[in-house]
């Protein structure tokens, strides 16, 4: 028996994750049906949680009339993601994109406009124009919070969800949360659950060795992926890792999307361009990696050729938004955009659909493969969906969940599942000594770097699996001496789950695809005959990690073969000398 303190509450909809997509899911559920009880569970504090805790400097995928059509956008993302997309879901995003921008604008989020009040769109992608700067985008979280209050969404801060609950018929029935400061349990029974837990951004270990010096908010450590997996949901294309070109050591965006439209660009150590397009894709990362391999690195973001007014404007945007501490980082290094280009490097690996395509499988209604379970944002499988995608798909999930709930009774769950989970959660608190969460996490993530980073080698990934199994055995010695350490101990287990999934998914797809993201040395060619499909990873009835192929649904926007190759021709043909 457990000695856990447990409170149980009931809701129509439980949203897990109060960052970007989660709040919008809660908002749109309440707008669809104000009589619903919607609970938003957040591991930190909704006021400042998630990827956009300090706001955002721009929309990277705005589909604005006059600049792009939803059809053009769907085509761009299909090409950027080597054809493996569920186009209906990308189309649902694309058609929801402009209405969401207008909605956020009405709520008080500030977007850049020209003198006549039109959105000031910029081109960064290879083909279309989708970037809308937000030089005053620092208040996004405040705007969301006000709306959550207005609509009376119930918020539970500092509760980390650990496992989903299901009914005997397979429907979702709620989730178990544990308070990160008291280790008390909160069981939320719900008719529908929306997962919006962000990326698995604490998977690889940053080159600096600082465990929390990640690209993603370090709280986004893959809890959502792990919970979906253990509940039996299918996860899609996890081998399509997130790997980003970042400011070296700082590990934040250097921001070619912001600086590109002003004339900044990615250059090698000769100051020469080597890629035609700075939009993040697997192919772009492959060219970045090749440049480093060739000895022409480091790679830099070059701005020292720009006019003073331009550089001041870039500084104003970059040093007040999203990751404002980057100004402080540059200052200590003596980096001045006017004098010296910013050194970049290739990030550690993670899962994230916000930038690549690794996520819990969702259809165009944000439904996972479990009835009543939804996913949105960085952890759901809609590729390249960025912040605006989290808002749009979160909104889709909220509205769909509201109608799903309408005629449903609150499902019952098995009390035994709750007791078993409480035992798992509390096990590290029952030991007086043993292994610390930090060292077990560090070792897991160091092995991720050693064996799972591309170029992916079969023999190395198989070693990784053996080493992860050893760490899993060591969990019997994991020790947490207070609630904070227990919080980290639970996160460490999510990270280990994601590490296992990254290895298994990468081994399953025996071809290379998505440029650097899934570059397999033993299978260097793209093999459309066998692998023009999604790969699904799931826990089977016997509890084993299993895989299957999912057919790519017929396109709603046809793409010609020659168009499909556009992102494969990113390397500058003959490098031009810098001006």
């Amino acid at each position: 028996m457990t000695d856990a303190t447990t409170e149980t509450i009931e809701a129509d909809i439980l949203v897990i994750g109060g960052g970007t997509g989660g709040p919008m899911a809660a908002i749109k559920a309440k707008e669809a049906n104000p009589s619903l009880k919607v609970v938003l569970m957040e591991k930190a504090n909704v006021k400042r949680s998630g990827a956009i805790s300090m706001g955002m400097d721009g929309l990277n995928n705005a589909v604005v009339p006059g600049y792009a059509t939803p059809e053009q956008y769907v085509k761009e993302i299909t090409v950027a993601n080597d054809g493996i997309v569920h186009q209906k879901a990308v189309m649902a995003y694309a058609t929801g994109s402009f209405p969401m921008i207008q909605y956020l604008d009405r709520l008080g989020v500030k977007f850049e406009k020209d003198g006549s009040g039109e959105y000031n769109m910029r081109k960064v992608h290879h083909m279309g124009t989708y970037v809308l700067p937000m030089p005053e985008g620092h208040n996004v979280k405040k705007v969301l919070y006000r709306q959550l209050r207005r609509l009376q969404v119930a918020v539970t801060n500092r509760y980390m969800a650990t496992r989903l609950l299901k009914a005997a018929d397979g429907r979702i029935a709620g989730a178990i949360g544990v308070n990160t400061r008291t280790s008390e349990f909160l069981v939320v029974r719900a008719k529908a659950v929306i997962l919006a837990c962000g990326a698995a951004g604490r998977l690889g270990l940053p080159a600096s060795g600082y465990m929390f010096g990640t690209y993603e908010n370090a709280a986004n450590c893959g809890d959502g992926y792990a919970m979906a997996y253990h509940a039996g949901a299918e996860l899609a294309n996890l081998e399509c890792y997130q790997i980003n070109p970042l400011i070296k050591d700082y590990n934040g965006p250097s921001c070619a999307y912001v600086t590109g439209p002003f004339g900044g660009y990615t250059a090698n150590n000769k100051g020469q361009r080597f890629i035609e397009c700075d939009y993040w894709s697997g192919q772009m990362m492959l060219e970045f990696w090749r440049e480093l391999q060739s000895g022409a690195g480091p790679v830099f973001l070059k701005m020292d050729h720009l006019a003073e007014e331009t550089i001041s404007e870039i500084e104003q945007i970059l040093h007040t938004n999203e990751r404002p501490s980057r100004g402080r980082f540059h200052e200590k290094r003596g980096n001045d955009y006017r004098k010296r280009p910013v050194e970049m490097h290739i990030s550690e690996i993670g899962f994230c659909s916000g930038h690549s395509a690794s996520g819990v499988w969702v259809d165009e209604n944000a439904r996972t493969t479990i009835p009543g379970l939804y996913a949105a944002g960085d952890m759901a499988s809609v590729p390249h969906n960025y912040m605006l995608g989290a808002f749009v798909n979160g909104g889709i999930a909220g509205a769909d969940a509201a109608s799903y709930c309408a005629d449903l009774d609150l499902p019952a769950f098995d009390e035994g599942d709750l007791l078993a989970e409480q035992e798992r959660v509390l096990a590290p608190t029952r030991r007086a000594d043993g292994l610390t969460p930090h060292e077990m996490e560090f070792k897991t993530r160091r092995l991720v770097n050693d064996y799972l980073e591309p170029p992916k080698v079969t023999a190395k990934m198989e070693i990784a699996q053996r080493r992860f199994a050893e760490i899993r055995d060591d969990l019997s010695a994991l020790c947490a001496r207070d609630p904070h350490e227990l919080h980290r101990a639970l996160e460490m287990q999510s990270i280990l789950d994601c590490a296992d999934m990254a290895a298994a998914a990468s081994l399953y797809r025996t071809e290379s695809r998505w440029g650097f993201y899934h570059l397999r040395v033993d299978h260097p060619e793209t093999n459309d005959e066998d692998w023009y499909c999604h790969t699904m990873l799931f826990k089977d009835a016997a509890g084993r990690m299993s895989h299957r192929k999912r057919e790519v649904a017929p396109y709603v926007v046809p793409v010609e073969a020659e168009e499909m190759a556009a992102y494969h021709q990113l390397r500058v043909k003959a490098p031009q000398a810098a001006e």
Binding site: G50, F212, N217, R328
Partner: protein, 77 residues
């Protein structure tokens, strides 16, 4: 295995003269996404308790008295 304690420098620095935690303020502790700040029960001042900083800066931005300064952690500075 017994557990030992190791030290590291604190990236988040609180100016005790400006910090008003003794008046009940917990804003920096409340907003930290990684939950690494705490109030020292003896001194009644905020401090960085865990070396787990994402240098994101809500603690500094939201502090009502400007008492918090976020430095880049030494390992990546």
């Amino acid at each position: 295995m017994p557990i030992i304690t190791q030290s590291s420098s604190a990236a988040v620095v609180i100016d005790d003269a400006k910090c008003i935690a003794e008046k009940g303020c917990t804003v920096c502790v409340d907003v930290c996404p990684l939950d690494i700040l705490a109030i020292d029960e003896g001194r009644k001042k905020a401090f960085m308790k865990y070396d787990e900083c994402w240098y994101c800066m809500p603690c500094e931005a939201d502090c009502p008295t400007g008492a918090v300064k976020v430095n880049i952690p030494y390992l990546l500075r």
